[in-house]
Symmetry: C2
């Protein structure tokens, strides 16, 4: 197997950095759109055959060094009893958001095998199709990110409901976050047991909290999820979008093997700040740079690789790939990492 | 006159830090909503009597040390010929966004006195009503923020149109940004000449660009606007939301008198990083903390004031006040600054 990703997670010497793209199984791929045209998003997520097919598409098309299972972070709250609605053009939302200290006893503690078997089966099927060609990455949302979705009901501009809950009902919020931390950890552990060689936690709304609030409501629960997940033995990547100020604390307090760097943070600064920590780094090409002409992409990849260095480094975007970038530009990004990184 | 703000901008010794709130003339005030119920937003902005009335409301209600003129950053692009539409619940948008290298000759270079006289008159009237009680703050949007609005057509989640323009048509973008930098500078200068004692530039979408892109497309044009505005002799505050990484560069490269700190950045870290620079600091109370009980607000104000210190500091929020916070909590914030800061 191409084990570049696993070796980079362990900070071993590698011939070149591994490369994959967050949200690589997505709408920028014509073969993804072809399947999406015939199926609803949630149907694709919950049907292992479809999810596995889409999971392996970017390996074929781009030659990336990992396949991330096609799924969604909101399947966990859904399994806890929150009814999820996907409407085209609006994005996912919960039919009944958690508001005003809604009784948490209503929420179930899901058993991943019984309640989320479809994602575990999607991982198994992806592995079969790939025949150990590249590792499969499992993932989940971080407790704070899931909690804010559950309270807001969906995406939000200012997250006023979620923030008001933290300020007005901190004990209720802590109880919710603790339930989520356990659930996230269990889901990640189950994904590793189903065959995922690496798992990533997305704290997509980390940047919505000020540093002191993130230390109170974000980091401790993220750390708990990582601790549970890590018992399964696979490397854990933590990606906290918009929390560049927290890199050192993410490395020290969560015990993650890899810290994802977003595109807001400068590569050289991230490397310098995490130099003494026992972690690998992943990131952080600005997704909008894939709009640039190919020679510009190549030149910026070179700059990024120089800043990160080749040891303990996974080349990736600094956030999910945008749905309207040309496939050839995504391919140019991957090729440039392989060409430059192999020198 | 209460000249605490002016003295803090000049980093003079003051008995206590001045305090005001970004977006303080806004929906959280019942007396604002009473006027807004009878008038459209744009009507209020362009009618000096209404704008002045709303401008002074927070001085009366909260006892803040400055009045910021009630206006909108998009009046400049509108005066350049972009038709602005305000729809309730949607926010402002331009009827015809600038796309695909739209010819920039179509845009006018507005004369502030002739084309934006309403904001200048609102400043004059506010000064008359306040009778020199507190200074009046003028403002404008930064070139990059205005350009991204003009290209997107309105608010945006990922700013894909604006970013694609930067990547695919950088020369066109530079030409647009340069036109805007001149216009922003001229508008701020005219506001000072009309009586504004301080001006602030809001780079509300600074955080939408990665550091290297902000250095290319944001900072140089922001600096040009500051240079032009500063010729009028009043202190200039620069507030670049989401660009906490850039504090030192904002201080050194723009020549601003005051650097606004957003709530993503820790107060102590901002103070430390700007310690050697010749600038005052403004900020940075998390607006969502105004949802918390009053004793929590008071305690966090104390922490903030200790971190910033009293010299060269203006107490403020770290972003605009949220529309649904209780007025008494806004008042508690102001009172706490006065009480703690006066000790």
């Amino acid at each position: 197997m191409n084990d570049l990703l696993l070796r980079a997670c362990r900070r071993e010497v590698v011939p070149r950095p591994p490369v994959w793209l967050m949200r690589q199984a997505g709408r920028y791929l014509p073969e993804y759109r072809a399947i999406r045209a015939r199926h609803q998003f949630l149907e694709m997520v919950t049907t292992p055959e479809l999810a596995a097919e889409v999971t392996v598409q970017p390996v074929r098309r781009l030659g990336v060094d990992a396949a991330i299972v096609f799924s969604d972070i909101l399947i966990l709250p859904q399994a806890m009893g929150m009814e999820l609605v996907f409407e085209d053009g609006v994005g996912p939302r919960f039919r009944e958001p958690l508001r005003d200290e809604a009784p948490l006893e209503r929420l179930r503690d899901p058993d991943p095998v019984r309640d989320l078997g479809f994602v575990l089966e999607a991982i198994q099927r992806s592995r079969e199709i790939l025949a150990h060609e590249v590792p499969v990455v499992g993932f989940a949302g971080a407790p704070w990110t899931l909690a804010s979705y559950m309270i807001e009901g969906g995406g939000s501009k200012q997250f006023t409901h979620a923030k008001r809950a933290l300020m007005q009902s901190p004990e209720w919020a802590h109880a919710l976050l603790d339930r989520l931390a356990t659930g996230v950890g269990a889901l990640l552990k189950a994904q590793v047991e189903a065959g995922a060689e690496v798992v990533q936690i997305f704290d997509s709304w980390a940047g919505v909290l000020s540093p002191s609030d993130y230390r109170t409501f974000g980091l401790p629960y993220l750390a708990k999820s990582v601790r549970i997940a890590a018992t399964a033995g696979a490397p854990v990547i933590v990606f906290a979008l918009g929390a560049g100020w927290a890199l050192e604390e993410l490395a020290r307090d969560t015990g993650a093997d890899v810290i994802g760097i977003d595109w807001h943070t400068e590569a050289a600064s991230a490397r310098r700040r995490l130099d003494g920590e026992n972690v690998a780094l992943q990131g952080n090409f600005d997704p909008s740079w894939l709009y640039a002409p190919v020679p510009v992409i190549e030149s910026r990849v070179r700059t990024m690789l120089e800043a990160f260095g080749s040891r303990g480094y996974i080349a990736n975007l600094g956030h999910g790939i945008l749905p309207d970038v040309p496939v050839e530009h995504a391919r140019a990004f991957v090729d440039a990492v392989k060409a430059v990184g192999g020198n």
